[in-house]
Symmetry: C2
DNA sequence: TAAATAGGTTTACAGTATAAACCAATTTAT
DNA sequence: ATAAATTGGTTTATACTGTAAACCTATTTA
């Protein structure tokens, strides 16, 4: 009936990030920050967690002379997101 | 885009409880405990929070000689649940 | 009369989320 | 030149949350 909800995804900010990444495939830190209206600190921490779980990949580079952090959802991340949504439906329908 | 999710409802156990109460209108503690597969302690704490938020009403009585705790969702609770679900859809669609 | 069960509540602790403080480099203003 | 502001983040301190374990009172069963 109520299957457990992946705690990594059951978090407002991380869920928003995954939701964005699933549609755009790849996104910059600042893009995620704007869209989620989060602080940089909070976002940084939550991206770390998603990366450690293998749900996203984070690439650090430079654009011109400035640091640039790019995030991309992984196959594992997509599957986890889809499973989460499926489970969640039992709770809200 | 990503509206804030009511933190009181964005919790696996409390959401499950609200989901049950919205369909049955009234339920006993032990019923909720079985359906949610939670421990009594955890359930007790979370029911308290839902009550303090005005989302449910808790009535304590006796069945025979044993204590009986009955929970009922309030109008405010129903509205909060519906708003939560609406907001959540932005995240998972 | 001791042990198990029912029906919970309280509480201690670990985990989580968040903002504030910080950092290094770059750009802009003086 | 150099001070101040901005960019693009990370680290860290703290408050908040979730949970199980311990506990409690009464009842039933052995």
């Amino acid at each position: 009936m109520f299957k457990p909800l992946d705690p990594l995804l059951h978090s407002q900010l991380r869920l928003a990030v995954m939701s964005l990444l699933i549609s755009v495939e790849e996104a910059e830190f600042t893009f995620l920050k704007e869209k989620t209206e989060s602080t940089a600190g909070n976002l940084s921490v939550q991206l770390d967690k998603l990366e450690k779980a293998g749900y996203i990949e984070i690439e650090k580079s430079f654009r011109g002379k400035r640091p640039l952090t790019t995030c991309k959802i992984t196959k594992k991340g997509i599957e986890a997101f889809e499973a989460y949504v499926d489970n969640l439906k039992n709770y809200i329908q």
